[in-house]
């Protein structure tokens, strides 16, 4: 593996609060020296002038589709898309085929990841068998097989007693229960945010209150059980306010928000483009502002993409029939840098929400530039202009609302475990 000298970059380490120009030396997979003016020796040199050097990003919410839907994505293509977007680790959801509700599936995913993925892969297991919301999975066995959290993501555990028991039982393994918080009875057949946009489109509305009601229930159950609740893809002002209040009274809650919910409005759906259909839906401006305020003040801990690949033929149908979700691994950096440009996040706090906080939530190492830490690193060029073309990306799918858009900012180098896995000029390099 040898040595890599990263010279003259702006070192951003939220774990220590460091934000200064300097050098960083990687040797045998670990960071061995950090500081200004390190004496260069043998090894590869990466000139990081004008770049930010940060601990690798960790995406808490990715659908890798393997096993079972490899035509949309697989662990190899998703891993490549991840490192090309600056992510050194991906937390993958359980709604595969078969569902990851059994240790054999967890082991399969981890085995494939070791062979095929340039990014680290941390599986999430289903919280209930078959994602049916009825019987909890064998959490201890799944935990020992390597899962980092439990979630019925994509579906919602509607039975409050099942959710209560899942949260309580998770005390045995002390990992987060991730909730996809949408009350299905209130969502009904809604496909776009309920409001002026659903009225104009004539499409069934999915009201903000469907999320808020469900977040309220889950926060109360988390409080009762003392378990760690992680709220996926927060999209409403009401949910942000409830999470803020719950944390103030000591509930163990963390939360994430997606790049699309931070930057796109429900109005994006006005042309009936199914690449603007997600669950929860894109919201109105007051909700988007509340999410931005929530990520800025730390109420929302993490930015996570909810990378959800779907094939063109699946999306190219009636709006109501199209599956929800968009890909996001390769666009998260430029899209969320908007918050830095708008001065809602400092570069350091932006890195904290993409790296340090997600690693803390799943209890894995990373998120730091400390000497001795694993060398999972990303270099960011915050000013690089480029046009995003999903057909030229690493994901197998193309369902992005940003297709054809001009982007500002890009991951230019990604290093996982001391190995250079991505360089913007050469592409993904391994495996």
């Amino acid at each position: 593996m040898g040595r890599i000298w990263i010279r003259g970059g702006r070192l951003l380490d939220p774990a220590s609060g460091c934000d200064e120009v300097g050098d960083l030396l990687v040797e045998d997979g670990r960071i061995v020296a950090v500081g200004a003016g390190l004496e260069a020796g043998d090894g590869d040199v990466i000139d990081a002038k004008g770049r930010w050097v940060a601990p690798g990003f960790v995406d808490l919410h990715v659908h890798l589709r393997e096993p079972g839907e490899e035509y949309k994505e697989d662990i190899a293509s998703g891993g490549r898309a991840g490192v090309a977007g600056g992510f050194t680790a991906l937390v993958c959801m359980a709604n595969t085929h078969p569902i990851n509700d059994d240790p054999s599936v967890t082991e399969y995913i981890l085995d494939r990841a070791r062979q095929e993925s340039p990014a680290r892969v941390y599986p999430v297991a289903a919280a209930t068998r078959g994602l049916a919301g009825e019987v909890m999975t064998e959490m201890v066995a799944l935990f020992e097989a390597g899962v980092v959290a439990f979630s019925d993501d994509g579906k919602t555990i509607m039975d409050s007693n099942v959710m209560r028991r899942v949260l309580e039982y998770s005390g045995l393994v002390r990992v987060p229960i991730i909730t996809h918080a949408e009350d299905r009875t209130l969502v009904c057949d809604g496909v776009v945010n309920e409001g002026a946009v659903s009225t104009r489109l004539g499409l069934p509305g999915n009201p903000a209150v469907a999320e808020v009601v469900h977040v309220a229930r889950d926060l109360l159950l988390a409080e009762l059980s003392g378990a760690h609740l992680h709220v996926a893809h927060v999209s409403t002002a009401g949910a942000v306010a409830l999470i803020r209040a719950a944390r103030e009274r000591g509930v163990h809650v963390t939360a994430e928000v997606t790049p699309h919910h931070l930057t796109l409005l429900d109005e994006a759906a006005l042309g009936y483009d199914t690449n603007t259909k997600m669950a929860p839906p894109l919201r109105g401006s007051s909700d988007v502002e509340a999410c931005r305020a929530g990520i800025a003040d730390g109420t929302i801990d993490a930015i996570a993409t909810d990378h959800a690949p779907h094939a063109v033929h699946e999306k190219d149908v009636e709006f109501t029939a199209a599956p929800p979700g968009v890909i996001g691994l390769e666009t998260a950096v430029p899209v969320t840098l908007d918050l830095v440009r708008q001065e809602q996040l400092s570069p350091l706090e932006w890195v904290r929400r993409l790296s340090t906080n997600p690693t803390r939530i799943i209890g894995r190492p990373g998120g730091s530039l400390a000497v001795g830490a694993a060398a999972d690193l990303v270099l960011i060029d915050p000013d690089r202009h480029w046009i995003y073309d999903p057909a030229k990306g690493y994901s197998k799918s193309r369902n992005s609302p940003w297709a054809g858009r001009e982007m500002i900012g890009r991951a230019t180098v990604t290093i996982v475990g001391g190995r250079l896995v991505y360089d913007v000029d050469r592409g993904v390099l391994v495996p």
């Binding site: 009225t199 104009r200 499409l203 009936y272 009636e318 709006f319």
Partner: protein, 314 residues
């Protein structure tokens, strides 16, 4: 109209609406002749692509096309080989390959005519998409009111019923507001679309207030099987509170007319004796539908033969 498509009244401006009304007037005259046929669209092919069953609208388009001498083909996927195996865009592109000069599309999901229009060379006319729009219905309603009242500007139009699920209400609220009428919507709170007043109309839950001073009262069909029990408790309660009869109609202006896009539910949204005679103009609406659709077909498909000018970006 946007390009040569007619997808939504929301997309049209005042002058385009007026042009369609004036063209409809000329087409209406054709319908009163002994030989109800002109050669305007001779040699042109019109496809009625109806993914959702409809007898009235499809027949109206068919007669309109035939009065203009177009060759009219009806294609109803439910009665053809189309199943879930072939997507809407594949079906539409297959038909497009047969070089039609216009495609009339109806689908139960909002936005499908727009997606088809984006994919096709031929002009696309929306004949109703989900709860989005039904532009030719609004145009024939405009034409009917214009004929009755001699103007649109300054009129008060009250639309009553299931606004939430109604494409007719959406198209009409745009059509009448754009031509200067005041549009009021009246329904139980469960059937008023969220934020509907952002579209420049007033929403009422009191039928009496909505009717006061109205020149035009427009009723919408209640889809009983879909709605009862969730959006309102029972047909009986709806009929009592929002069904129109002569007694409630007295709140409107003395010369108010009553309209309905059909098919009507007698005794639900409209009293039996009100449906069949003045001030009801329901059958005039149907009659005018043919003239208005002739005008739309002429304006969409009559200008350049297919292959003459291809739309940009398609």
């Amino acid at each position: 109209m946007t390009g040569r498509d007619l997808l939504a009244i929301e997309d049209l401006d005042r002058s385009e609406l007026e042009r369609i009304l004036e063209t409809s007037l000329r087409m209406e005259e054709v319908g009163r002749r002994d030989v109800k046929k002109v050669p305007t669209l001779r040699g042109r092919t019109l496809i009625n692509l109806f993914f959702e069953p409809s007898t009235r609208t499809r027949t109206s388009f068919e007669i309109a096309g035939k009065r203009l001498s177009a060759d009219v083909v009806n294609f109803s996927p439910s009665s053809s080989s189309l199943t879930k195996a072939e997507g809407i865009l594949d079906t539409a592109m297959t038909l497009d390959a047969m070089d039609p000069d216009a495609v009339v599309v109806r689908h139960k999901v909002a936005g499908v005519p727009k997606r088809i229009a984006d994919a096709l060379d031929a002009p696309v006319i929306n004949a109703g998409d989900g709860a989005h729009e039904h532009p030719t219905q609004a145009l024939l309603d405009l034409f009917t009111v214009w004929q009755e009242k001699g103007r649109i500007d300054g009129l008060t139009v009250t639309i009553i019923g299931d606004i939430l699920h109604s494409r007719v209400a959406r198209s009409n609220l745009y059509a009448f507001s754009k031509l200067g009428a005041e549009v009021r919507l009246a329904a139980p709170p469960t059937m008023l679309p969220p934020a509907v007043e952002s579209l420049g109309v007033k929403a009422y839950t009191s039928l009496r207030e909505a009717l006061e001073g109205a020149d035009v009262v427009m009723l919408l069909r209640i889809q009983q099987e879909r709605l009862a029990g969730c959006f309102f408790p029972s047909i009986r309660e709806y009929a009592t509170a929002f069904g129109l009869d002569r007694r409630k109609l007295r709140f409107a202006k003395d010369d108010a007319i009553v309209m309905h896009p059909g098919p009507i539910n007698r005794g639900v949204e409209i009293a039996h004796d009100l449906a069949d005679q003045r001030p009801s103009v329901i059958l005039d609406q149907v009659r005018n539908g043919v003239a208005v659709r002739m005008a739309v077909l002429y304006l969409c498909a009559g200008r350049t033969p297919r292959g003459g000018v291809r739309r940009e970006g398609s």
